[in-house]
Each structure stands twice: as C-alpha cells, then as structure tokens.
C-alpha cells in the first residue's frame, strides 16, 4: 500500500505543473527581458526587484482586462520566442517585433505600437551617410534576429554594407562613437536613447522601414490571443494605450494612424507585419530550403571558428610556455606574480574577460573585434595551458635532469633538448582536450560582435523559428572539426609515446 501511495504522490507531483498550466490561471505570466532597459522593461532603480516600462504597463493593461494579475518572468531576449512556443509564460512582451516568421509559428496579438527603423551616424558623417546605399563596404551595427538585421542583410546583398550584430543595444552606439562601426540601424526608441546617451551622434530623419511591437503567445493559445486583441482594441479606443506611451515619452503621430487601422479592420492581422520583405524570404521557405540557403553562411562562420581557435591556441601555447617556464625556473617574486596572474585569469569568467578587452579597454585602445576575441581566448587558455606545462615539466623524472647536468648541459639546453620535449609529450593529451574545449568556447566571442558558427546558427534558428535543423547542422560542423583533430592528436601521441 505504501508503494501505491508513493506512486500516486509521485504522479500528482509530476502532473501537477501540467494540470496547473492548462487551467485558466488568476495570474497572467508575461515574459520579457529586463536587460532590454527603459522604456520597455527595466528593473526599477528605486526597487530593483520590481520592473517598470511601457511593456510592464501593457502587461498590466492586458492582465486587468482579463481579470488576472500580472506576474513578470525574466527571459533572455533571444529566447523569448522559443519560451513562448513552449508555453513557459502566457504572453511575451519586450519590444517584440511583428514578422511573417513569428506569425507563422506563434500566436501574435494585434500591434500596439508602430516604430521606425532609424539610421544613426556620427554627427561628422551626417551628410555622408544618409541611407544604407551610402554605406557600401562600411560596418553597420544592429541587434541580431531583428527587423533591422533583416534590413541590413538585404543591404549587404544589395549595397555591400557589412552587418555587425550585437547582443545588446548599448554597445552599438558606443562603438559608433569610437569608430568601430560607421552607422547603427535600430528602432527609433533605441536610436533616440542612443543619441541621448552619446553626444556626437545624430539620427537621420528618413526612416528606413516601419515595424510594429506585438505580444507573442504559444501557437495553440489563439483563444487567449483573441481576448488580448479585444483588450488592446478597447485600450486603443479609450486612450489607455495613449496614456501609457505618453507617460514614457514615446507617443507620436504614427500611433493614432496605426490604431485607426487596427480598429477599422477586425481581422486577425489588420496591418502588414512590417514594411520589409526580406529578400531571403526565409519565413516562407521550407526548413530544408532555408538550411540549403544558410549552409554557405554556416560554413564560412565555421572557418572563422577554426581560424580563431587555431590562432588562439597558438597564442595560448606561447604564453603558457612562458608562464610555466617562469613558474618552474623563476625566482620567488616572479613565481608569486605568475601564480597570481594564472589564478586571476582562471578564476574569472571568459565572458567577462572578453567584455573587458573589447568594451572596457575601448577608451584606451580600440581593438578590432577579431583581435580582441583572439587575445581574450588566447590569454584565458594560456592560464590553463601554463598549468598543464608546469605539471608536465615537473613530471619529467629528476634522473633525466641529473644526467643532463653531469653531461654539462646548461639549464636552457636541458629545457630545450631534454625536459621540454619530454614534457610536451606528457602535455599532449590534455592539450588536445583543451583545444577541443577552446573550439567550443570560441562561441562566446559572439558577445563582442564576431559572428562565428554558433552565432550564425542562432541567427538561422531565430529566422526559421526552430533550433532542430540549425542545431543539428551546427553540431555536425563542430564534430567535423573536432573529430579529425582528436584523431590527429591520438596519432601524434602514439608516435611520440615514450614507453
């Protein structure tokens, strides 16, 4: 009986969350990214556990219209779609852009805000760069997987601009000021904030495109979506939405025109998702067509990954050998200093180091993104390599060193002829391991705008709205790079084995 009771309890525990999810809840769980910042969603400066922003107010509006209370769920901006599709929350609101791709795979509300895509340039370039056509061969920054990115992808094919994708909306503008990029394309709200925060930048008056912010729900949640559409239309009619946007200083003449169109047409999609039809038209292609279209981009991103990994490993080996030699042969002050350096590098996240090298040092030295990535990965892995080499040097039997000394070899000759080569063989297996790890860790450099294999895959996945095929293609390419490497390393180990 005890077993049966246990089984029933277990079943209830496992099924309860599902049951809870399917019941109409008194809460409206809404997902957004507080890192996106004001005026969308941001932590309240006076109470950081609380969020504020126009999307917070829209969520409140929807919840009260549905007779529920809103509950905020923090979600990374790039995973909002995937989590909405999984049903992790009822609705996603975080300056989410309407698009044909989203409409095809999620339940999408009517738009509640219309925005313009704006070109931001340095004041000194105001007359030189008026449109994307003026930016041939120039680097133009934006956020990945956005309408602005689609615009830039088109402009890349048409005008030869070079899109540079960022993971946040702050650094595109600071890098524009530093000259790392020559323009930024983003929503007017972000562009106005970027210009406000960075003196010396201006927004070009002509919009590049028009887009809309919407709420996104799981594909099956069409009934809830329809209820939300009714709430939004009511709020358009009675001025509550206007009050929200006015309060956040983003109300403008575009909104009444949008609301008039939404109210005049009661169909599911009263307005076009945006004024842009990406030439890639990935949303309309099958997954396999999209895969075929993305394969060359994935392969060239894989080249970036492999070149970056090989160069970083080379740098890590050189610095690692120097650190290890210093720690084995150096005097006490040098040994203590090097131990400190190794512990600092090993004890802090690679991601933080990349940020510091690329963004933190930008005020003193503006490293190109690839070089910053190379330095970040190289220095980080040098700390690990140095420990491997130090261990390997110390593992060479003392008798070998005694023999070298009695034969009259200097310390340097002993290191180069006897100790070093033997240590290298001992270090080979862990080094191979590290190289495979580095190959995968190189994906972190996407945070400093280097588009390598994983980043290209996530752009692909965001555009087709699924990770299955892009994930498999990405995994296959990584394996195609790492497996031969492991084979070569095993062969070298076999040939060089001591006994």
């Amino acid at each position: 009986m005890t077993f049966r009771r246990l089984a029933i309890s277990l079943a209830i525990a496992l099924l309860w969350p599902c049951a809870a999810r399917t019941q109409p809840s008194a809460e409206l769980r809404w997902g957004g990214d507080a890192e996106g910042g004001a005026p969308y969603v941001e932590a309240d400066p006076s109470n950081p556990s609380h969020v504020v922003g126009f999307d917070v107010d829209v969520a409140q509006l929807l919840a009260s219209g549905l007779g529920r209370s809103p509950r905020f769920i923090q979600v990374g901006f790039t995973s909002i779609d995937a989590e909405a599709a999984r049903g992790d929350f009822d609705v996603g609101l975080s300056g989410i852009e309407d698009s044909a791709a989203r409409r095809s795979r999620l339940a999408v509300t009517v738009p509640y805000y219309e925005f313009r895509e704006i070109l931001t340039v340095r004041g000194s370039d105001a007359n030189r760069y008026r449109s994307l056509g003026d930016l041939r061969g120039r680097r133009v920054a934006t956020l990945g997987a956005t309408l602005a990115y689609d615009l830039l992808a088109d402009a890349e094919a048409r005008d030869g601009v070079i899109p540079v994708t960022y993971e946040d909306d702050v650094h595109p503008y600071s890098d524009l000021l530093l000259g790392r990029v020559d323009a930024v394309v983003l929503d007017a709200i972000l562009a106005q904030r970027g210009v406000r925060r960075n003196a010396g930048l201006i927004n070009q008056p002509t919009p590049l495109a028009i887009g809309h912010y919407v709420g996104i729900l799981a594909p099956g949640a069409t009934a809830l979506r329809d209820q939300m559409n009714a709430v939004l239309r009511d709020a358009m009619r009675d001025g509550r939405l206007e009050a929200i946007f006015a309060r956040w200083n983003v109300w403008n003449e575009d909104q009444p025109r949008l609301y008039a169109r939404v109210l005049a047409d009661t169909s599911q999609y009263p307005v076009a998702a945006s004024s842009v039809t990406p030439s890639g038209a990935v949303a309309n292609a099958t997954v396999w067509q999209a895969a075929a279209r993305y394969l060359p981009a994935l392969l060239s991103a894989a080249v970036i990954t492999i070149v970056l990994s090989c160069l970083s490993m080379g740098l890590a080996m050189v610095i690692g050998v120097l650190i290890a030699s210093g720690r084995v042969y150096g005097g006490a002050p040098l040994r203590i200093a090097l131990t400190g350096v190794v512990e600092i590098i090993r004890g802090t996240p690679l991601l933080l180091q990349l940020f510091v090298i690329y963004f933190g040092l930008a005020a003193f030295i503006q490293l190109p993104a690839f070089l910053a990535a190379l330095l970040g990965l190289g220095i980080n892995y040098a700390a690990y390599e140095s420990e491997i080499y130090r261990g390997a040097l110390e593992a060479v039997p003392i008798g070998q060193l005694d023999a070298a000394r009695t034969l009259g070899f200097s310390e340097r000759q002993t290191l180069l002829l006897v100790r070093g080569p033997q240590a290298f063989r001992l270090a080979l297996a862990p080094m191979t391991n590290d190289f495979v790890a580095l190959l995968k860790d190189s994906s972190l450099v996407s945070v400093i705008t280097v588009v390598e294999l994983t980043k290209e895959t996530s752009i692909f996945a965001a555009n087709i709205g699924s990770w299955i095929v892009p994930g498999m293609m990405c995994a296959a390419i990584y394996l195609a790079m790492s497996l031969p490497l492991a084979r070569v390393a095993r062969r070298i180990e076999r040939t060089w084995r001591l006994e």
Binding site: P397, G399, Q400, D402, A403, A404, R405, T406, L407, G408, F409, Q413, L417, V418, P421, Q422, R425, L498, E499
Partner: protein
C-alpha cells in the same frame, strides 16, 4: 700523480650527516671501488663527486667534465641510443655533428651495442641500456668515470663482461670510481676497495 683528491668530505641532508670525514685519492688508470651495504653513503659520495649535491665540508678536486653512469642509466627518454651519446659532444663540447655522430657510433660498437644505435631507451634491455649509458659518459672524454651500482641490472655473465670492459677502459689512463655492494664484482675489477659504513671509510683493501 693523483687525478682525484677528496679531503674530509662531509654531506648533510635535512640536518642529518650522511657522509662524514671521507678522504681518498685516485691515480689515472686506477679503479677504486666504494663497497658497502645499501644506505651506507656510497651513492651520496658519487653524487657529491659529480657535483649533483652540495657538500657541507671538505674539498673535492676532480677534473671536469665528469662521466657518470647512474644505477638506472637515465638515458634521455626522448631520443635514440645514438643521439643520447652524441648530444653532449655537439651541444656542450661544440664538436662537429658529423664527427660526434661517428665517434658515438664507434663507442657503441666498442661496447657491443652498435646494432642498437637506433633503438629508443625503452626498447633496450638493462645491460644494453647500461652500455649505452657508459658510451654516453665516455663521449664527453672525462678523465674520471663514476659508476653507481653498475651490476644491479646484470646477470652473472654480463657482470664478467662489464668487469673486463672497465679494466680495458682503465688501461686508457682513465680513473674509475665505482659504488657497489657486489663483493665479487669488486674483486674482479678493483685496484683498491674502500669499505663504507655509516657514511665513513671503515677499511681499505
């Protein structure tokens, strides 16, 4: 004429006296054996003579370079027998590589391991490794050759061969100091035996 002169040698390790008041001398062509049980201090004396360990007191007068053959040979594991032998002449004595290689091959042949020149150390038997180690020590043309427990890895027949080899080397005006606990081997090759116990010379025969 003496080539090796040790006066009142004292070696301490971790505050403990390992070797005390050891004095002896050796002439060219002489084979001196340090005899004693394990732990008596023989190897410590050899290491002090080779300059591998610091001495606490006394003086050692020995011409450099010193040839040393270790109990476990310590052939460089990352290179062939041949390279083990020519490496020091080329890098330390700055001999021409071709000359050094040729001389290394001659030494290996003269010690009966010429056919094993291209073998890696781990591919050699104990006796072969020891002869390669002797060749390596001789390649730097040392006036004094030190050997630590040379019979440890040899069968009785090989011990006889080694004694003959060492006597031959001694006739080339080379001084040889051997640490061993093998009394039979000591009798077979020594001109003089210093009996070591508790780090001191107890008797000379």
């Amino acid at each position: 004429m003496t080539v090796l002169n040790v006066r009142s040698l004292e070696v301490r390790r971790g505050g403990r006296t390992i070797v005390a008041d050891v004095s002896f001398a050796a002439s060219p062509g002489e084979i001196v054996v340090l005899m004693g049980a394990s732990g008596a201090g023989k190897s410590t004396i050899l290491r002090a003579l080779a300059g591998l360990d610091p001495i606490a007191a006394g003086t050692i007068s020995i011409p450099r370079p010193v040839g040393m053959v270790f109990q476990f040979h310590h052939l460089f594991a990352n290179m062939t027998a041949h390279q083990n032998v020519w490496l020091a002449p080329v890098h330390v004595l700055k001999r021409l590589r071709t000359d050094a290689e040729q001389r290394a091959q001659q030494l290996l042949v003269s010690l009966g391991v010429g056919a094993r020149a291209s073998a890696m150390p781990h591919e050699l038997s104990g006796g072969e490794a020891q002869r390669v180690a002797i060749a390596r020590a001789l390649a730097i043309e040392p006036p004094v050759l030190l050997m630590d427990e040379p019979t440890a890895s040899l069968d009785p027949a090989r011990r006889g061969d080694l004694a003959a080899t060492l006597r031959r080397l001694a006739t080339e005006a080379r001084t040889i100091v051997i640490a061993t606990h093998d009394a039979e081997f000591a009798r077979a090759c020594a001109h003089r035996v210093l009996h070591i116990a508790n780090g001191r010379i107890e008797a000379v025969t």
